[in-house]
């Protein structure tokens, strides 16, 4: 939090007559609290700059010139400082401030959601006067006004502590709420016609010290003392924010952010915070379905499982494919990897849906933590999607690094994003040209335009990157082009600077855990390859380990569409809605002989399935999850799943049993033990470590470095050491995957008559979690085509009119809008929003998507 870079020294400060140790730069309020003296406060929040406004923390501080009342949240400790938090003067002042705060505060605690967990209530009891001397009329405002779709504001309850407004302007950068009027009429409000439409609005509700801000999903739902809670990890995206899951009577009622230093600092995005609506949805599958006489009907579990097992048994290993797994816990992902790769013997397994990066790239490149990327004074190269839309809390961390800690961001992409406002330079390149632009950056200069970027911009960005201490955030900024561009860019960076670390910007919940557990072609659990670990796993009881690398998601769908897949297992995947090339996905589901869907909802893909196995989801399963850094942390089971829906790992174990092999998996804890015992990268990730004090922050360090990696060839010979010796004292494990630059296709030359498509995602889309959460479902935006204003004249179209966009694979009619954030010659769309669907425009097998735009 602190901006000071000088190493802290320990100094002695006297608090209430007791000498305590404090660190230079530390605020009095922090030093006192660390040493057991709590100073009451309202406006102070450890993750925001102090403002000293509420005056509740005024205490007598003597720095040699006699005691004076000073706000403890604004004054840094100094050697010899004497603090008295219990003097008569202090007590009178604090009494007075509380009385002031209460005189206009309505006494509607009995109907206030904050009652029972209200700092104003609590501190009034601890520090306040017994009764009020205020006999005048209280200040009145219209009772709650909606300041956004999710947040209601009761200005009568507000004590004007500046927490929400500071969060909005300083932390989120969405300065949409502000103080208005003055004196006793001061109020927090939005500006006319500009609602508090922030992706982070829920944080203001959590940090509000009174009941002024409430969120519609929780309003009047429960009293705090009725809530039962468990600490967990959010899996809405892959940042891995720590949460407090709160429920009552087996229903999730609220998620609160938990402050962990390496990840989310207590913040959550609104999708993560309010997405629990989908957990409680009435449309959840509460039991298995099977296709009978052409229709999906409820069947008993035994019947559903044996139907699925029959289909698997009838298929040859090479004709079974598994798509998905990013929704699963690490333990369930391991179970399914063991079933697919160890029992069935197929390597056609991919947890990603064509919108990610090759697993070897994610796992093989040197990895950075969020703290390393957001280090003070560091330089970040962003080759990533819009972080605010896809990894919102990472955006907050990066924003803090830039705004407060002097980090420098160089952004590469084909469309400006909210990060562009923070970036020192944003290079808008032609879709598909990331690789050549990065090569030019590494060269330091260019003599001519590279990929649509001017030489001057290249030189400017190269100079920034040349200062060293660079980390890279790597992901897919454009889903209408293949991953080849960013992979080429990453390969070039790694070749030139092997010490540079990469932070994955893959979005899906536990995609990194799924890749770790081997749910990707060519990989086995523990970030290792078929070649390196086949023998290792064979010896550990895996009857069938594939011999050849299988298909990725694109190839699986192409094979299925071509009738080459007998059984397609959808592991929480909905390719019809979610694969960028929707047309291919639809053909694939039709072409697969049998489809087994494991899901929480009857998704548009599951509707094509022959068997649907109802699965338990977030907050219903226990285990671990893995975030973008590779950090492993706990997810908690807080409620029971609907009906007879079951954990994913149980389904794998059941199917395996029906196929004649006992997976030997009995519980998430036991699976985690097995992972720690066998997975080369996970030797230190034992249940005990995960549940230790440091495990609360998640375990990331040492996963790669400390796991004893075997030299190639070692341990592969028959007759090696016994198999059941647990790590880390056990036998040398197979080598983890290392990065070798994959072959990539260069983008074709520019076609002057076409525009290149840029397809991105937004936080709120037609995805399952959003659409089944009542608070979020309506927050999607319309589908429009965005062009640089320059291209309007060239195409002869007018803003707002509907145009026909034609690609090789399909066409769509869309309204067109000018957007300076789109590069010239590019056309930007957002996938998966209401209105005309643009997935049909994307050809997943092409490096870039060229479109023609004509007047309708």
């Amino acid at each position: 939090m602190s901006d000071t870079q000088a190493p802290a020294e320990t100094i002695i400060v006297t608090v209430n007559g007791k000498e305590i140790e404090a660190e230079t730069g530390e605020l009095v309020i922090e030093a006192a609290e660390r040493n057991g003296t709590y100073i009451p406060r309202f406006c102070y929040h450890p993750r925001m700059e102090p403002v000293g406004m509420c005056r509740m923390c005024v205490v007598e501080i003597d720095t040699g010139r006699g005691p004076a009342l000073q706000p403890a949240c604004m004054i840094p400790v100094a050697p010899g400082m004497v603090v008295d938090t219990e003097s008569e003067v202090t007590k009178k002042a604090q009494d007075g401030v509380l009385e002031f705060l209460l005189i206009n505060h309505p006494l509607d605690c009995p109907v206030c959601d904050k009652g029972g967990e209200c700092p104003l209530q609590d501190q009034t009891l601890s520090y306040g006067p017994g009764e009020s001397r205020f006999v005048e009329e209280k200040r009145h405002f219209e009772k709650p006004i909606m300041i956004s779709d999710l947040v209601a504001l009761d200005r009568e309850r507000c004590i004007l502590c500046d927490r929400c407004t500071r969060f909005a302007s300083d932390v989120a950068g969405d300065t949409l709420i502000h103080f208005q009027d003055r004196g006793n009429h001061t109020q927090v409000n939005t500006f006319p016609d500009h609602p508090f439409a922030s992706y982070f609005s829920g944080n203001t509700v959590q940090i509000c010290p009174v009941g002024a801000l409430t969120a519609t999903p929780y309003r009047f739902k429960a009293r705090p003392w009725d809530l039962d809670q468990a600490e967990s990890t959010c899996t809405s995206c892959a940042v891995g924010c720590r949460t407090l899951v709160q429920s009552s009577r087996n229903e999730i009622l609220r998620y609160q952010g938990v402050d962990v230093d390496p990840v989310n600092w207590g913040w959550l995005c609104d999708k993560g915070r309010f997405g629990f609506g989908s957990v409680n949805s009435d449309e959840r599958l509460d039991g298995p379905l099977a296709r009978r006489s052409g229709a999906l009907v409820p069947v008993p579990w035994g019947e559903a499982l044996s139907t699925a097992a029959d289909a698997l048994r009838a298929a040859s290993a090479d004709k079974v494919a598994v798509l998905g797994g990013a929704r699963l816990t690490n333990e369930s992902a391991y179970a399914w990897a063991k079933l697919a790769k160890g029992v069935i013997g197929t390597d056609h397994v991919d947890a990603q849906l064509g919108d990610g990066l090759p697993a070897e790239v994610v796992l093989g490149l040197p990895r950075a933590t969020i703290d390393q990327v957001c280090a003070p004074g560091g330089t970040v190269l962003l080759l990533a999607p819009d972080l605010k839309e896809e990894l919102p809390v990472l955006f907050l961390r990066l924003r803090h690094a830039v705004v407060r800690d002097g980090a420098t961001v160089v952004e590469l992409g084909s469309r400006r994003t909210p990060v562009s406002e923070l970036a020192a330079v944003t290079l808008l390149h032609r879709p598909g040209a990331a690789g050549e632009v990065v090569r030019a950056l590494l060269a330091g200069s260019a003599t001519q335009e590279v990929g649509g970027v001017e030489p001057a911009a290249i030189a400017e960005a190269a100079a920034l990157l040349d200062r060293g201490d660079v980390t890279v955030v790597l992901g897919r900024s454009n889903l209408a082009e293949s991953a080849d561009g960013v992979v080429a860019a990453a390969s070039a960076i790694h070749a030139a600077h092997p010490e540079v670390r990469f932070l994955s910007a893959l979005r899906r919940g536990n995609v990194h855990g799924a890749l770790d557990m081997g749910l990707a072609p060519g990989l086995l659990p523990g970030r290792t390859t078929l070649e390196a670990a086949r023998t290792w796993y064979r010896r550990r009881g895996w009857p069938a380990v594939p011999t050849a690398r299988g298909h990725d998601a694109l190839a699986i769908l192409e094979a299925a569409a071509g009738g080459q897949v007998d059984v397609l297992v959808l592991l929480g995947a909905d390719p019809v809605a979610d694969f960028p090339d929707t047309e291919l996905a639809t053909r694939a589901l039709a072409g697969a002989r049998a489809v087994i869907a494991v899901d929480r909802f009857l998704t548009s893909s599951a509707q094509h399935a022959d068997v649907v196995l109802a699965a338990a989801g977030a907050s219903e399963v226990e285990g671990t999850t893995t975030n973008i850094e590779g950090r492993v942390s706990r997810v908690a089971r807080k409620i029971t799943p609907p009906g007879t829906a079951r954990d994913d790992w149980m389904l794998a174990a059941e199917l395996s049993r029906l196929l004649g092999t006992d997976l030997g998996l009995e519980s998430p804890a036991q699976i985690l033990e097995e992972i720690a015992a066998v997975a080369p990268s996970h030797a230190g990730i034992t249940p005990a470590a995960v549940d230790s004090a440091s495990g609360r922050d998640g375990l990331v360090e040492g996963i790669v470095e400390d796991a004893p990696a075997a030299a190639p060839g070692e341990e592969r010979e028959e007759g090696g050491p016994p198999v059941d010796v647990p790590a880390p004292s056990g036998p040398a494990r197979p080598a983890v995957v290392t990065f070798t630059a994959p072959a990539v296709a260069e983008a074709p030359a520019v076609d002057a008559y076409s525009l290149r498509l840029v397809a991105t995602r937004k936080l709120y889309d037609l995805g399952t979690d959003v659409q089944h959460a009542p608070g979020l479902a309506g927050l999607t935006s319309d589908t429009v085509l965005r062009l640089h204003p320059h291209d309007f004249d060239r195409l002869g179209v007018d803003p707002g009119t509907v145009v026909t966009v034609t690609a090789a694979t399909g066409s769509a009619n869309l309204p067109v809008q000018p957007d300076l954030g789109v590069g010239r010659g590019a056309a930007a769309v957002v996938l998966h929003q209401p209105g005309p669907q643009v997935g049909a425009l994307i050809d997943a097998s092409a490096t870039v998507t060229e479109v023609r735009v004509v007047k309708t």
């Binding site: 509740m56 009342l69 004196g183 001061t186």
Partner: protein, 452 residues
């Protein structure tokens, strides 16, 4: 009486109809002081002002030359900000200087910028002063055209730009850190000192000198005539002359430039040259020596000299140079309420005690005046003040009272001095005129006003 009738320093052109024009300004020695300054090294100019011991004329009375020296060396850029947001109740002297002699202010700005090494000055003028804004704008244009402002002024290496900024009408913006916030485009709310002392971290977190209009208007004269001539006027602790704005129940209210530290309140109020005594032959009841925020004085204090080093220890302040005179017809409770209402309405709302306390006090007083007071309200008023400004509150010693004087300034639980300011009328009035409050509290009707 010690009416010295010394030659004025800053108000020489206030009597002229066209003193605000460049032509008249130049014809009356305008910009000579700046030229004299340009001929010296900046440090010499700074030393000259320090030697003049020119006390700040805005309220706090801090020596300007010393203040300039607080800018950390080697930190650039640094700014000069002119506090023209004069709005302390009773004060209207800076307005006169801005309306009648804007070039003198601009010349002072140039001298100060030269001395501190600022290339950019900001003139923050109160929103309600339309004529002042108009005339300063015209004067700036004329000075730019004549080459007194801009690049390489008068052929020298010295360049400076002056920006005129209009306030939006808020008393709090007279507080220097709130003024800086407002200049930056934020809500005018004070910053906490520490850590934001403007000299170190001011406008855009750069070293910033904030000076009052009258302070700067003294600089041309000091440059032309030297600090020795300046310190010959007034006293050692309060040299030069000073403008005082007198309002209230006097025969001839107005702004008067008098010799500092020598002249007494009695001179200002009673001398025929100045206010000429109390109106209608009434008796003096009380007076506020330094603007609405200052604790009140009684007739027995009227022989005190206009010297901050005397007034401060006596329990009040000369503040912004505004003397408000109340005669025997004054309803003290109403006067008190009127001042309290001002602070309640002008509180910026940033910190709790001021935001809630000032309006609570106003409500209690309004209730008293409406005849709905309770005897306990009087002690409640004092205790609410105590929660904004912990005891002991500054007050003057009187012959009748059994207390010692409590010197200025006040203690506070607030960020700035606006909150404690509300205590001045309440504590003073209740201290000296408690019977009037009691009569409101007991019977709901005012007592027939008695002389003290």
């Amino acid at each position: 009486m010690t009416v010295t009738n010394a030659a004025p320093i800053v108000s020489t052109r206030c009597g002229l109809d066209d003193g605000h024009t460049l032509d008249v300004y130049l014809a009356t020695g305008g910009y000579d002081g700046f030229k004299a300054a340009l001929a010296k090294a900046p440090t010499v100019v700074g030393d000259e002002v320090k030697a003049a011991n020119l006390l700040g004329r805005g309220g706090a009375g801090f020596p300007a030359g010393t203040k300039w020296g607080f800018c950390p060396p080697g930190v650039w850029p640094r700014y000069l900000v002119v506090n023209g947001d004069e709005s302390e109740p009773g004060t209207y002297k800076d307005r006169l200087l801005m309306e009648k002699d804007p070039h003198q202010l601009i010349e002072g700005v140039l001298i100060a910028c030269y001395a501190i090494g600022a290339a950019q000055a900001f003139l923050y003028v109160r929103g309600e002063m339309a004529l002042a804004q108009e005339r300063i704008a015209q004067a700036l244009n004329d000075a730019y055209a004549a080459g007194y402002i801009g690049k390489n002024i008068l052929g020298s290496e010295f360049s400076v730009d002056v920006v005129l900024h209009w306030g939006a009408g808020a008393y709090i913006v007279g507080e220097e850190t709130a003024l800086i916030e407002s200049l930056e485009g934020n809500r005018g709310m004070p910053r906490l000192k520490p850590p934001f002392f403007p000299a170190a971290k001011g406008l855009y977190l750069q070293p910033t000198v904030v000076n009052n209009v009258e302070t700067l208007a003294n600089l041309p004269w000091i440059m032309t005539n030297g600090s020795a001539a300046f310190t010959k006027l007034g006293t050692e602790r309060a040299p030069g002359t000073r403008l005082f704005a007198i309002s209230g129940h006097v025969k001839n209210p107005g702004v008067f430039e008098v010799e500092y530290g020598v002249t007494t309140f009695r001179d200002l109020i009673y001398a025929p040259l100045y206010c000429g005594g109390i109106r209608d032959g009434n008796e003096l009841k009380a007076f506020i020596p330094g603007g609405g925020s200052a604790p009140w004085f009684l007739p027995e204090h009227v022989d005190m000299p206009l010297d901050p080093s005397v007034v401060g220890p006596s329990g009040s302040m000369l503040g912004s140079g505004a003397i408000v005179v109340m005669d025997s017809t004054t309803d003290v409770v109403k006067a008190c309420w009127r001042l309290v209402r001002f602070y309640a309405r002008e509180s910026c709302g940033k910190c709790t005690p001021c935001r809630e306390g000032t309006s609570w006090l106003e409500k209690i007083l309004a209730r008293l005046l409406a005849g709905e007071g309770r005897p306990t309200d009087l002690d409640l008023l004092l205790d609410v003040v105590d929660n904004i400004s912990p005891a002991p509150f500054p007050k003057a010693k009187t012959e009748a009272g059994d207390w010692e004087a409590v010197p200025f300034p006040y203690k506070k639980t607030t960020i700035c001095d606006l909150g404690p300011s509300v205590g001045s009328p309440i504590v003073s009035a209740l201290l000296h005129f408690r019977d009037e409050f009691e009569s409101y509290a007991n019977r709901g009707v005012p007592v027939e006003v008695t002389l003290v």
